[in-house]
């Protein structure tokens, strides 16, 4: 019964004023939960990459929710101030500018905020982009923080993948029972 009442109340409020921020915030909230969950469930990817990607996806949506809300509300308040002489006009302008605010957030504000905020946050948490992600970065991008010396010390990715045979492979004696000394 309580659930039905809650639905009725929500319906009434949405019917009177369905702000454009509601749906985008709801989508961002569910994306913020589901996308990292799907990434963590992927069995083909290595755990470090999964952790990094999931956290990055989660952070993007965490940034998106207040950005949508802030841009929408700010634009709405601006409309109210600009058209305060006519109430009907102000009401319409509020809805329209809210929608324009949400579109601006999706197109400009969120990508800008993410590019500024995500990297420092990931560094603070102590997560760095795995090798696969580094390869996705633009080819001609200069990396001033990385000195030539450290770059030379790095081993190529394919080198790490070579599987060396273990010494136990070459022993002819049985590998069970009590053994004393040596191999």
């Amino acid at each position: 019964m309580a659930v039905a009442d809650l639905i009725k109340k929500t319906c009434k409020s949405l019917g009177e004023n369905n702000k454009p921020t509601y749906v985008v915030m709801a989508i961002a909230a569910v994306k913020g939960i589901c996308r990292p969950a799907f990434t963590m469930m992927d069995k083909t990817e290595n755990p470090e990459t999964k952790k990094y990607t999931a956290l990055r996806e989660g952070l993007t949506e965490v940034i998106a929710i207040p950005a949508y809300w802030g841009c929408g509300e700010l634009a709405g308040k601006l409309a109210k101030k600009a058209f305060n002489s006519d109430k009907a006009l102000a009401n319409r302008a509020e809805k329209n500018l809210m929608f324009i605010g949400v579109c601006t957030a999706a197109l400009f504000v969120i990508p800008a905020l993410c590019s500024v905020a995500i990297k420092p946050i990931m560094h603070k948490i102590g997560l760095k982009a795995p090798e696969g992600h580094k390869n996705e970065e633009p080819k001609n991008l200069q990396m001033p923080a990385e000195s030539n010396q450290t770059a030379m010390l790095k081993t190529p990715a394919s080198f790490n993948k070579i599987i060396y045979p273990k010494m136990s492979t070459f022993t002819s004696r049985p590998q069970i029972g009590l053994r004393v000394g040596g191999l």
């Binding site: 319906c11 949405l14 019917g15 369905n18 989508i27 994306k31 001609n140």
Partner: protein, 212 residues
């Protein structure tokens, strides 16, 4: 210039889009599908191959989201949500009893939004193209009386139920379903466009079983 901006900001058509979940989400996704690839292509710090690849990938992702949303979510949740609310939640009360389906309600709402009573009456007297009956005949006496008032009842519960259903559909469609569909569709599409090369031979040799 200022007059044009003012009339755009106070436009009733834009207000209708802003208040309608499906239309606002569709408009936003369309903007994203044009804007985001556009910004990638403008970026001067990335080489042209990477730019083309990233822009095409972004466009295909947004286009898939839009297609899935429009084809599956809008019809299912818009119509389904109205029927579920009418039969099970509101049980033919709070205005649901006056409307057979969501299309009928939306048409009534559009008429009720018209501020001029004269214009509403003129529309009611018009004949429908499909069966030559008057639009007035579609509505019962309660609805006709409402439309004659200066401020007719817009049945907020009905509108709210449709919007709530649309929000649920949008969330399910754009946050869960569309990414899965686009994941399956984008890579073959990029390969078809020649933007995604086949894996290098070096990568393939890495996978050779060294134990053999």
């Amino acid at each position: 210039m200022i007059g044009a901006v003012k009339s755009f900001i106070t436009s009733s058509q834009l207000a209708n889009i802003a208040q309608n979940t499906t239309q606002s989400v569709a408009a936003e996704t369309t903007l994203k599908s044009i804007g985001r690839p556009g910004f990638i292509l403008i970026d001067k710090d990335i080489d042209s191959d990477t730019k083309q690849y990233a822009a095409a990938k972004e466009f295909l992702y947004q286009a898939t989201c839009l297609a899935v949303y429009m084809a599956l979510i809008v019809p299912v949740f818009k119509k389904g949500g109205f029927q579920v609310a009418k039969k099970y939640i509101f049980k033919n009360t709070e205005g649901f009893e006056h409307f057979k389906d969501v299309k009928e309600y939306m048409y009534y709402r559009k008429l009720a939004d018209n501020p001029s009573v004269n214009n509403r009456m003129k529309t009611l007297e018009k004949e429908r193209l499909t069966d030559k009956t008057k639009i007035r005949d579609k509505y019962n006496t309660t609805l006709q009386q409402e439309l004659e008032k200066k401020d007719p009842d817009k049945f907020a519960y009905v509108k709210g139920a449709v919007e709530l259903s649309n929000i649920i559909g949008s969330v399910l469609g754009l946050a869960i379903l569309a990414p899965q569909v686009s994941h399956a569709f984008i890579h073959p599409a990029l390969k078809l466009l020649g933007l995604e090369k086949k894996k290098d031979k070096t990568e393939q040799t890495d996978k050779i079983d060294t134990k053999a």
